[in-house]
């Protein structure tokens, strides 16, 4: 069994009001050095079999089809340590 991590973030040009809300809460808590927050999603997938090229290719397809919306989001994936 292999594990693969997929991380999904809004594209830089897409407004992230949730990240902004977290930023302003950070400042209210006194963490004034924080200058920007972007909020994303992390998926942990468990696969039958090894995380070889074919398996990672399938996960990439899944990420493009379902986990991320390429219109507004970008994603990265890697085998878990």
């Amino acid at each position: 069994m292999a594990r693969v991590i997929v991380e999904v973030m809004l594209k830089p040009e897409i407004h992230d009001p949730q990240g902004e809300a977290v930023l302003s809460a950070s400042h209210r808590l006194g963490f004034g050095t924080v200058t920007s927050v972007r909020q994303g999603k992390r998926f942990e997938l468990e696969l039958d079999g090894p995380a070889d090229g074919a398996a990672l290719g399938a996960v990439e397809e899944l990420a493009r089809e379902l986990l991320a919306n390429p219109v507004i989001e970008e994603f990265s994936l890697r085998p878990a340590d």
């Binding site: 809004l10 040009e13 897409i14 407004h15 009001p17 949730q18 809300a21 379902l66 986990l67 919306n69 219109v71 507004i72």
Partner: protein, 225 residues
């Protein structure tokens, strides 16, 4: 005319959509998300709500439901489809419409009657309006800010595919004031505000929304003639 209204787990406005269809003189036909069957309807409404709990992204799971497997090719072949609120989100996720709906700029869920201007009175769902006509209908959504890249927005504007726009400052931070758009053919229309909640003075802020439903009935009658 028979107009299908799809119910997904989490749909809220299917009853009002069916009522609007009836008011417009058509027969509402309930369609179920898990059925691979459009029951021979002449048009389809995807109603508002929170299909599949809005898990992952609004509309992202609904897109892969069995009924959508039938609806997507039918819409591409010319079946009129109206997506309202969550239905608009589903149409974007299914790539029947470009772009995506993102979280409201102010993070608040907005429930308010809003003024819209009809920009394209040539679609299957807006032919009964006149270009420039003002509508007063409810908006109730948390993720109603339309987003697309600049090239797509320019293309939508240049080809007249912005169907309705908010009057004045958009309440949710939507790109270029866009409240609703259509596909190249004008058969598939999606909008965030709720015309089905504004079909008579007793239950809505105006009867302005009924025109979406009477338009498609007239379009259908014209096609039969």
């Amino acid at each position: 005319m028979r107009i299908g209204v799809v119910t997904f787990p989490g749909s809220l406005d299917d009853t009002d959509a069916a009522r609007a269809v009836r008011y417009a003189g058509a027969e509402p036909v309930p369609l179920w998300h898990a059925d691979r069957d459009l029951r021979g309807v002449d048009a389809v409404v995807l109603p508002g709500g929170f299909s599949y709990g809005d898990y992952l992204r609004c509309g992202a799971i609904a897109r892969f439901s069995p009924v959508m497997g039938e609806l997507v090719p039918a819409a591409r072949a010319g079946l009129p489809v109206l997506g309202i609120c969550n239905g608009f989100q589903i149409l974007c996720e299914a790539h029947l419409l470009p772009g995506a709906l993102t979280r409201n700029a102010g993070l608040r869920f907005i429930t308010r009657d809003v003024r819209l201007t009809v920009e394209n009175a040539g679609t299957a769902w807006t032919s009964g309006y006149t270009s420039g006509q003002q509508l007063f209908v409810p908006l109730k959504s948390g993720e109603g800010a339309y987003a697309a890249d600049e090239a797509t927005l320019d293309e939508l504007e240049a080809s007249g595919r912005v169907v309705v726009r908010y009057d004045g400052a958009a309440p949710n931070g939507t790109a270029r004031g866009i409240a609703g758009i259509c596909d190249e053919s004008g058969n598939v229309v999606g909008l965030m505000p709720h015309p089905e909640h504004a079909i008579d003075a007793l239950t809505g802020p105006s009867p302005d929304g009924l025109g979406f439903f009477t338009s498609v009935v007239a379009t259908f009658a014209g096609a039969l003639r």
